[in-house]
């Protein structure tokens, strides 16, 4: 498959670009909700519009009422989300949770997918335990209890945790903390007793929770897939999530870069447009190259994932790491080249820096994925 968008994908990109620029703009969404100290960190009305656009069900099979598209298409939406810093539960609901539900039975799909597709339901995923992403270790335990399970433990960095209708929780049903096997995924409804959220606002104004499961009783039908068979689903979720976050990151990088290049063409100092200074030109040109490289590897990883390739795992980590590096460069250069006003809350460039930081950390930072690349490559 050529590494560019086919005609259908280009059409989707056009409509996503237009929609997000109009409805999902920084002014209309991110600043709006942030300045009102919104406890969700995003707008439910916009989420319903996502549903109307069909975005919510991009990765859901047609048989289940979705569009049955792939990660290239999901990435198209995510890149525009990134470019406009649009706050939404798309990544957690339509990518991560949707990937989990793909592995569930008809019953659980029927329970949750219609709400997702309509943009009425918000889903979260609870994977991390502790401040760094280490999905190899799962300590949260689900013990047999009656004909169901009893969930005990704590999850961190649960994006939209307090706003979600259902949380996909990775818990251990057997084995020791570091064992690959023995993981089961549960769909925990928001009204589950003994589940509590400590919601905190993050640097990018999104909301995340430390979520406690203090003996949460779950029916057997809360299990997604098979008992003890969750690791494979979790891996699928992580691959999808990394590639999705990387696509969003390319949007963040591109948005920050475009703002900055525009600024270089407007701001004058020493009687010249600052974009005339060769030192800044070379830095901008280097940045452009890095962003283009990041953009390319994301498409590559998306296609590998859509093609169910063995290389998708490696390339999902490569993509996540590369985007993190390129977007980090984009926002740092962006803020520096904007000079003093880049430091003010009034200008948007700082918002890109904040989002990049949170997104880079989500599902593993560049250092984590570099280690993964080394391990997967056998060194």
């Amino acid at each position: 498959m050529p590494l560019y968008h086919d005609d259908d994908q280009a059409m989707l990109a056009d409509s996503a670009r237009q929609f997000m620029a109009e409805e999902g703009s920084i002014k209309k969404q991110l600043r709006h909700w942030r300045d009102r100290d919104c406890k969700d960190g995003f707008g439910h009305a916009l989420w319903e519009q996502f549903g109307e656009m069909g975005f919510t069900g991009i990765l859901v099979d047609e048989d289940d009422g979705g569009l049955g598209m792939g990660h290239v298409e999901a990435g198209i939406v995510l890149e525009e989300i990134g470019r406009n810093l649009t706050p939404s539960p798309f990544l957690t609901s339509s990518v991560l949770a949707a990937t989990a539900l793909k592995h569930g039975g008809d019953d659980i799909k029927g329970r949750y997918l219609p709400g997702l597709i309509e943009g009425k339901s918000v889903f979260s995923v609870a994977i991390d335990e502790g401040p760094k992403h280490r999905p190899e270790t799962i300590r949260t335990r689900a013990e047999k209890s009656g004909n169901g399970f009893r969930l005990t433990g704590q999850k961190d960095f649960v994006l939209h945790g307090a706003s979600s209708d259902m949380l996909v929780v990775a818990a251990r049903t057997s084995g020791s903390d570091d064992e690959p096997e023995g993981i089961t995924l549960f769909a925990v409804p928001k009204d589950a007793a003994n589940m509590s959220h400590d919601a905190v606002r993050l640097v990018d104004s999104s909301m995340a929770t430390h979520t406690k499961f203090d003996g949460v009783e779950l029916d057997g039908d809360a299990v997604i897939g098979e008992v003890d068979g969750g690791r494979e689903i979790l891996n699928a979720m992580l691959k999808a999530g990394r590639v999705g976050a990387a696509a969003e990151g390319v949007g963040v990088a591109g948005g920050a870069m475009d703002m900055t290049v525009d600024y270089l063409k407007q701001r004058k100092q020493f009687g010249k447009l600052i974009g005339e200074f060769q030192a800044l030109q070379h830095r901008a040109a280097h940045l452009y190259s890095e962003v283009e490289i990041a953009r390319a590897v994301v498409v590559k990883a998306q296609q590998l994932l859509d093609g169910d390739s063995e290389k998708a795992d490696l390339m999902s980590s490569v993509a996540k790491a590369k985007v993190s590096q390129a977007a980090g460069l984009a926002v740092r250069e962006g803020v520096q080249m904007h000079g003093g006003i880049g430091m003010t809350d009034e200008y948007d460039i700082g918002l890109y820096m904040k989002r990049d930081r949170a997104l880079s950390e989500y599902l593993g930072d560049a250092y984590y994925h570099a280690g993964r690349v080394a391990e997967l490559s056998g060194y």
């Binding site: 760094k132 100092q269 003010t344 809350d345």
Partner: protein
């Protein structure tokens, strides 16, 4: 000589023991712990008041200024002893002010006797709080292109324009401010004026930063009357009329030294050692930490070397530029790594656990380091021109 110093050290130790209250022997935790002085100043508690007054009376708010201007007239060696002894007991600075750091040095160098008598004493006694009016929205790195204009009306100017990045303008009593007084000469057309922030036509607006609320303000001047004289031998400007750029350059050099002196963050500690206490480091992050620590420890050595050379009169005038460039870039990198080590906890913006997002806000605040006091790009230009003597524009 050495004996005299030792006896001074003994005296100082005794004096500090007697005069520095225990509450003032703790590191400054937040803005509230800093005493800035000024017309509207209030003390946070009795200890702060007691400590300030003891220092003021001893001349220790500005220990190396001459006694007649409110200082203690200490020699550089004595001043160093005092700093060491204060550091030894963690004594807080009794008074912080841009008057001490910025205007004072300018007046000591360029001021008239009358200006020194009045303004230095006011500063030393914490009576007047000053702020600085340099940058303008259109004039950042290219400071000399500033447009705020003072029309000459004989015994006064009428000033119109806008300044930006005036720290604490909303709490300051007076401002030292660069004003264009001759539109025909870029460099020799600026006057370094002094005026009361309570003057008619002065207004301020705080600037919110990406890291949150900040001391920075925009300051607007709308037909502000600035007298050319505040009395005998007390001109309303420093240096000569139209030669304020000389004063400004002198102070910019001073500011860069100050900023570079604090660059690189807390140099005594290894970043890797500090962050690894939060949990096991990822191996790739550990590698980056080690490479950072190498750069940071090396930078500290250069910083020390320059200070030694400066004291010995061996310093190159462009060295502060290098310190500022390398120090601020390093500090940004340090904070990036701290964010990485902190993971999702470090992302928290308002939580109690992070004292209201201290790590994240600190990280964002460091991004200004390579802009304020001269951008990294300007520093590199200066190094290329002044040290390497590379040709052309």
């Amino acid at each position: 000589m050495a004996e005299q110093l030792e006896s001074f050290r003994k005296e100082t130790r005794d004096w500090l023991e007697a005069n520095c209250p225990p509450e003032m022997r703790q590191p400054v935790r937040d803005e509230g712990d800093v005493y800035w002085g000024g017309r509207n100043a209030t003390f946070k508690n009795d200890a702060q008041k007691q400590w300030f007054e003891a220092c003021r009376d001893k001349g220790y708010t500005v220990p190396d200024w001459p006694k007649e201007y409110g200082g203690a007239g200490l020699s550089p060696a004595e001043a160093k002893v005092l700093r060491q002894e204060m550091a030894a007991i963690n004594a807080r600075p009794p008074l912080s002010s841009f008057g001490i750091w910025m205007l004072g040095p300018a007046l000591l160098h360029f001021g008239t006797e009358g200006q020194k008598q009045r303004f230095l004493n006011e500063i030393a006694r914490g009576e007047i709080r000053w702020c600085q009016g340099y940058s303008e929205p259109g004039s950042g790195s290219d400071l000399v292109s500033m447009q705020t204009f003072g029309e000459d009306k004989g015994d006064h100017w009428v000033v119109n324009g806008q300044k930006i990045w005036t720290s604490y303008a909303d709490e300051a009593d007076w401002i030292f401010c660069l004003v264009r007084t001759d539109k025909d000469d870029k460099y020799k057309g600026i006057t370094f004026m002094l005026f009361d922030m309570a003057s008619d036509g002065v207004s301020t607006k705080p600037i919110k930063l990406i890291s949150g609320n900040s001391p920075f303000c925009e300051t607007f001047m709308d037909d502000v009357k600035v007298p050319k004289s505040y009395g005998e031998d007390v001109p309303g400007y420093v240096g000569e009329i139209n030669r304020g750029w000389d004063v400004a350059k002198y102070l910019l050099g001073h500011e860069r030294e100050m900023i570079s002196a604090t660059g690189g963050g807390d140099r005594a500690t290894s970043l890797g050692a500090a962050t690894s206490r939060q949990g096991e480091l990822d191996p790739v992050l550990r590698a980056q930490m080690a490479l950072f620590d190498i750069d940071a420890l090396s930078f500290t050595a250069m910083s020390e070397k320059f200070m030694d050379e400066l004291k010995a009169g061996k310093g190159h005038p462009a060295q502060p530029n290098m310190l500022k460039y390398a120090g601020t870039e390093l500090n940004k990198r340090r904070n990036e790594l701290m964010m990485s080590a902190g993971g999702s906890t470090a992302l928290e913006w308002e939580s109690e656990e992070t004292s209201g997002g201290k790590t994240a806000r600190g990280w964002l605040r460091t991004k200004a380091n390579s802009i304020e006091g001269g951008t990294s790009e300007v520093m590199l230009n200066v190094i290329a021109k002044r040290i390497l003597e590379l040709p052309g524009a």
